[in-house]
């Protein structure tokens, strides 16, 4: 007889041999033993979990002549015929090939015939989700009340494609994915029976790669036996699966955690040199990072065990920030998806790794969020103190540490988060932000009474936010009104929209072309820029744009009350009616 693949040769022939589906086999065994078998069953679950196998065993158990207890004997004529697929009473229908109404009508015609030898006629309708709608409907009445001697077993991987009217007529059994431990156990049995030597590590790898499908696992074992001449080692399994050893993954995890793009790219170069499929590597890496994430969220999670040494995963988990980890998984998952269809998968992987390592290179929300989280973390220690000091001088962060409160805070937080360092980085950030905008001699501000004392860097960084401009907008308009009365009406509805460096975007309501044109005339524009210069310091550029809908137009504001009281340190004085005379 020709060689049979392991998964066919070792197809379980009794309920007891079916792995990982005790909730189903127990039920069926009890039903068989009590003689209470239903007339329609639906078996569903992912590939390789035992649907067809269970259906065949059930068929045998129902028809077995020498049955003692719930298990089929596998010795009687009926059992043997079923095993070989020769029985006339067990009809296996491939619903995906015979999916039309005509085939179902034909089946209905034959249902009424009594079984030839056994007690039941069993119809195993496999891949039932592929039946056409008409075929399903043609089956309904038969399925509800079939002749006493017939049993239907429907099997499918996609129960959601089966109509509800079919579902409600069947006893439904959901087959679970088989746990890695159970797969390993079964693989050991099969390997021992088939005379294959297998390493423990190899078994674990196979079980992980099989993702709950025992048939997948046996296929890999089969392949390993062919390659390794009946000796299967972990190396052979890696070769077959195209996967890399866990240490390559943990090394890559370490590089990502440390944000080292260079070594990560070098590792990719190494893998390419070994002829590894980078698509598979990307998938593995995403799965590995997921295990790290689980470890990070709930330390000691058993998911990590599939990857061998859990201490490595735990170490990587510590090196990563949670945000960074999630971002890395996102990026790798995206890269894996893209690599599937790209003609340059290697380049996609390299780009993804650079992105994962260097969060500053992308401007997407997640990396920004991560950077903001970093800054928040750094600022956390400052905010409460700052609220206390605000009345003294809000704009002078350089002075904070001179106050006793700051020093106390510094002692509270040992090590790397000392405020001195913190201030250093914060100022650097501010400086970097301001670098582009700063021009010599322009650090002075319109509303800054004492910019130098306030600290030049912080000053420049703060100088030109939109709120400031809005606050002085009234003044500017006032000046405009005085100096160029004919131009002023054009600016009545103008609002400052956006500031970047010394570049101010001024908006006009949509549809006011004439007004905008007027403002855009080069002499008027020049004038307005000069005007801004007078009000806010030299070097302004103006861009005009339209805005939609309503934008709040800043009104001419007198200096706000609380601002004055802050600057002069005074409180509010209420004057009594008629007391004017006495005051002056």
């Amino acid at each position: 007889m020709a060689y049979l693949a392991l998964y066919r040769e070792w197809r379980p022939q009794t309920f007891g041999a079916i792995v990982g589906q005790a909730h189903i086999t127990r039920t069926l065994q009890n039903a068989v033993e009590a003689g209470r078998a239903g007339h329609a069953y639906l078996f569903c679950g992912t590939r390789g979990t035992g649907k067809t196998t269970t259906a065949k065993v059930l068929a045998k158990a129902l028809n077995c002549a020498g049955r003692n207890g719930p298990e089929p004997c596998n010795l009687c004529a009926s059992c043997k015929a079923i095993t070989e697929g020769l029985s006339v009473d067990v009809i296996e229908v491939d619903a995906a090939s015979n999916r039309g109404i005509d085939e179902i009508r034909d089946l209905r015609e034959k249902v009424k015939f009594a079984p030839a030898t056994g007690q039941f006629r069993v119809y195993i309708i496999d891949e039932v989700h592929m039946l056409t709608n008409e075929a399903f409907n043609a089956l309904l009445k038969t399925l509800e009340e079939p002749p006493r001697h017939s049993v239907f077993i429907l099997a499918t991987t996609e129960p959601h494609k089966v109509p509800l009217t079919i579902l409600s007529r069947c006893q439904r059994f959901d087959f679970r994915r088989i746990a890695p431990g159970e797969i390993v156990g079964r693989l050991k049995e099969v390997a021992a029976g088939a005379g294959i030597e297998v390493e423990e590590d190899a078994l674990r790898l196979i079980a992980r790669a099989a993702e709950g499908g025992l048939r997948d696992a046996l296929s890999i074992l089969d392949q390993g036996a062919a390659l390794g001449e009946m000796r299967v080692t972990a190396g052979i399994v890696h070769d077959i699966l195209g996967t890399v050893r866990a240490d390559a993954l943990s090394r890559m995890g370490g590089h990502l955690a440390a944000g080292e793009a260079g070594p990560a790219l070098r590792l990719v170069g190494e893998l390419t040199g070994m002829g590894k499929d980078l698509r598979i590597f990307a998938r593995e890496l995403a799965a590995y990072l997921r295990a790290v994430l689980l470890e990070k969220i709930s330390p000691g999670d058993p998911a990590g065990e599939a990857w061998g040494d859990t201490s490595v995963i735990a170490r990587t988990a510590v090196e990563f920030s949670e945000q960074g980890l999630i971002r890395a998984i996102d990026i790798m998952a995206g890269a894996e998806r893209e690599m599937k269809w790209s003609s340059l998968p290697g380049v996609i992987l390299e780009i993804a790794l650079v992105k994962a390592c260097r969060r500053e290179v992308t401007s997407d929300l997640s990396s920004l969020a991560e950077r903001v989280a970093d800054i928040e973390e750094k600022l956390k220690n400052f905010i409460p103190k700052r609220a206390v000091e605000t009345p003294v001088d809000e704009t002078a962060p350089l002075k904070w540490e001179k106050l006793p409160g700051r020093r106390a805070a510094a002692q509270d937080i040992p090590g790397e988060t000392s405020p001195l360092q913190e201030r250093g980085t914060a100022t650097e950030t501010a400086a970097a932000g301001a670098k582009l905008r700063r021009e010599p001699g322009q650090s002075g501000g319109f509303q800054r009474p004492d910019p130098v004392a306030a600290g030049e860097i912080a000053e420049v960084a703060r100088e030109f936010d939109l709120d400031k401009i809005k606050a002085s907008w009234g003044n500017i308009m006032g000046m405009l009104r005085k100096e160029r009365p004919p131009l002023y009406p054009n600016f009545i509805k103008a609002v400052p929209l956006h500031v970047g460096g010394r570049r101010l975007t001024v908006g006009f309501p949509e549809g006011e072309e004439l007004v905008k044109e007027m403002a855009e005339r080069s002499d008027n524009k020049k004038y307005f820029e000069d005007l801004l210069g007078k009000a806010l310091g030299e070097g302004w550029q103006v861009v005009y744009k339209y805005y939609h809908g309503e934008v709040r137009i800043p009104v001419i504001q007198p200096a706000p009350k609380d601002d004055i009281s802050r600057r002069f340190g005074g409180g509010e004085i209420t004057l009594e009616d008629g007391s004017e005379g006495s005051l002056f």
């Binding site: 007889m1 020709a2 060689y3 693949a5 066919r8 590939r47 697929g85 296996e92 491939d94 995906a96 090939s97 999916r99 891949e127 592929m130 991987t157 499908g213 048939r215 997948d216 296929s219 089969d222 392949q223 036996a225 062919a226 390659l227 001449e229 070769d239 077959i240 699966l241 793009a261 260079g262 790219l265 070098r266 170069g269 390419t272 040199g273 002829g275 590894k276 499929d277 980078l278 598979i280 893209e338 599937k340 269809w341 003609s343 340059l344 998968p345 290697g346 380049v347 996609i348 390299e350 780009i351 650079v354 260097r358 500053e360 290179v361 992308t362 401007s363 956006h498 970047g500 570049r503």
Partner: protein, 337 residues
């Protein structure tokens, strides 16, 4: 037609298959998965011949018996080659397979069904094949080829022994290019790097005007760096008119930017696709930031896919070049401000 033992770069797969023939452990369903042009079809044909050979030696075909010659001339009655009829493999084709599977073999040996581009099977066809694929009559062997195995349902995958054809390692590809085409070592190494381990691609490059293409790509990158809006649009117009295979050029462009990026990040010559251009790469690297390079490569990839999906070439190129020209040298400082 190659013998199994002559196949380059897949030693481990070949060994497994030879062992299977030798030890009578031939499975009934194989899936050869891997990128285009790495040798799936070549291996499958050689394997089919070995399976059908009347006098196999050490698992490989003898190449002399009637069976071997029949396979070589594509007229072996038990060797069925199924390829997409049109853009997909349809259920009728699978039904035809099922019909034939039930017959005995004509010449008494095995029956081999080679299904090319298996991922193009329609959902009906795939499902129709499932039962047959799981338990075909004795002596039937299915060999399925696919560059996109992830497009096949898991129910098919789990029924097959899957062989993953990896990209051929650089040095093996180099030496077989030298052997096959008599190329100079330097050139062979270059082609091997650019082909990403695909023999088919390397051979196509070897016959085509590879050097010229690559020079065009690096020239384009340099020009774009300097270009303003007008120049960018002009380039797009010129290219969309002049070039038939714009996708190739875009791939080269990706490779070029990739080299610059790799140099910036690692500074290692051996990781580059174009180690012979290292001086230029080094010079160019100073002009770019990592972020811009990443963005550039992603943009090109995106536009490439759009052109592949039949977008208007000229418009797509214009959009691409405008983004590259304006953005890549950091002119877009006010972006998102």
């Amino acid at each position: 037609m190659l013998f199994m033992r002559e196949i380059a770069g897949h030693g481990q797969i070949v060994r497994t298959l030879l062992n299977a023939v030798l030890n009578e452990r031939v499975a009934h369903a194989y899936l050869f998965a891997g990128p285009e042009g790495v040798g799936k079809a070549t291996t499958a044909l050689a394997f089919a011949r070995a399976l059908l050979c009347a006098r196999p030696a050490a698992g490989d075909a003898c190449g002399e018996c009637r069976e071997c010659r029949q396979v070589e001339h594509a007229n072996h009655p038990d060797f069925n080659y199924v390829r997409p009829g049109g853009s997909s493999i349809k259920i009728e084709q699978v039904r035809e397979i099922q019909r034939k599977v039930t017959f005995c073999s004509y010449q008494g040996g095995r029956k081999v069904y080679l299904i090319e581009q298996a991922e193009t099977m329609t959902a009906e066809a795939v499902n129709c094949l499932l039962k047959t694929l799981e338990e075909p009559p004795g002596g039937t062997v299915f060999i399925m080829l696919s560059a996109f195995p992830q497009a096949l349902p898991p129910t098919i995958l789990s029924r097959c022994q899957q062989y993953i054809f990896k990209p051929i390692p650089g040095h093996e590809l180099t030496s077989s290019l030298i052997k096959l085409r008599g190329l100079a070592r330097e050139e062979a190494r270059l082609l091997a790097a650019f082909s990403g381990g695909s023999m088919g691609k390397a051979l196509a490059y070897a016959t085509g005007s590879f050097q010229k293409e690559r020079a065009a790509a690096s020239g384009l990158a340099a020009a774009l760096r300097e270009a303003g809006v007008l120049e960018a649009l002009e380039m797009a117009e010129k290219l969309s008119k002049a070039r038939e295979n714009i996708l190739n050029l875009l791939e080269m462009l990706i490779c070029w930017y990739r080299d610059i990026l790799i140099w910036r990040e690692t500074g290692e010559e051996r990781l580059l696709f174009s180690p012979d251009q290292v001086a230029t790469v080094k010079r160019e690297a100073g002009h770019y930031e990592t972020g811009r390079l990443v963005e550039a490569i992603e943009t090109i990839e995106e536009i490439k896919n759009k052109i592949y999906g039949n977008a208007n070439t000229r418009l797509a190129l214009e959009a691409l070049f405008l983004r590259l020209a304006g953005g890549i040298n950091g002119a877009r400082t006010d972006r998102g401000g």
